[in-house]
């Protein structure tokens, strides 16, 4: 009985000591990861002022900043549907006939096939739709991309450039003020 009491006390002391000295500790082994990027060029469709991509292969994502490194002044990332790993992203800028920029993907380019849809807009007009497939078979090379046009994705511009929350809030505020004024 005394032995059992001593054992219980010892276990209690060990547990207390572990908690007190826990603080910051690594959990498990480090996990390798990564991202990759591919430069693209869009041309031959006339003037365009918006490009957008939508991931279509399950479990794959782009990585923030999905669109970057534009060769034309004034172009910038406009919208991503998630902060770090979006599946939908658009970029806008002044109307141009040729644009070279970079798209960033999450994961590894040598063991993870993926597919995404691409569109280019001028104003509200959809100029081009394409489907892009990356097979991830062997040494990565730009010739591995399979790009077919036209693609099947035909979103509206509004779906690719959602109205910011602040604008909606402002509109609601103005509406409220007008309603209050009428009363």
């Amino acid at each position: 009985m005394r032995y059992a009491t001593l054992l219980a006390m010892a276990v209690g002391l060990i547990l207390t000591a572990s908690t007190a000295t826990a603080d910051l500790v690594p959990v498990g082994d480090p996990v390798p990861g990564g991202s990759w990027f591919q430069q693209f060029n869009e041309t031959g469709v006339g003037n365009f002022d918006l490009v957008a991509v939508r991931m279509t292969s399950a479990g794959d994502t782009f990585e923030h900043s999905t669109h970057y490194g534009f060769d034309q002044a004034g172009w910038a990332l406009k919208y991503e549907n998630a902060p770090m790993y979006p599946t939908l992203a658009s970029a806008t800028g002044p109307a141009v006939t040729s644009l070279t920029w970079t798209i960033k993907f999450a994961g590894n380019n040598n063991d993870n096939p993926l597919a995404f849809d691409f569109v280019a807009f001028y104003g509200d007009t959809l100029l081009e739709s394409a489907h892009c497939y990356w097979p991830a078979d062997g040494t990565p090379h730009y010739n591995d991309w399979v790009i077919t046009a036209p693609g099947s994705w035909s979103p509206t511009r509004a779906e690719l450039v959602p109205v910011p929350g602040a604008v909606v809030l402002g509109a609601v505020g103005i509406g409220l003020i007008s309603w209050w004024k009428r009363r």
Partner: protein, 182 residues
Amino acid sequence: MHQKQIALTITGMLLCFTTIASAGLVPVGDPVQTNSWEQRFNEAGAGTFDLLAVQIATRDTTLASPAQKDFSDEQWILDMDEPTVASAVGPATDDMEWNVHFTGECTDSVVLDYVCFDGEEIVNAARGEWDGSEWSVTNYPDGEGAVWQPDRSAVVHCPVPGAVLLGALGLGLVARVTRRLL
């Protein structure tokens, strides 16, 4: 000879037009892989905390974005996300697991300084040294003796100045409208 030249010119022009017409979206150059790695950490036993921050103390490595992720409490979010400093905030807790995300290969060595705050107070600090195969972590309760003891304000994002200005303008406008109406 003349006919052959004309035929050649026409063929060349046709080829040019075909190329332009089918240009559309094309890849430029080969894809580029950038490596990163993650290590999961646990913070517990130091009391409650509502902010975690890490800083890279070695020159050759940086944090990869997002620098801190996969928090065991899903209400926690990344706050500062810079190449050498990152922080995360959330509801006060006394036990948290999360990943720190580094650039490069996991065989590269790295030295990482760490603090956690409860309000303005540092409740724990640590230095973690990774030699490419093993972690060595030294904890400094309350931050005493730690190399890195930042103020909380140094590791949290300030509100975006534009948003603050817009908010002030909005409030002013509402106040003016209210005064005119009443």
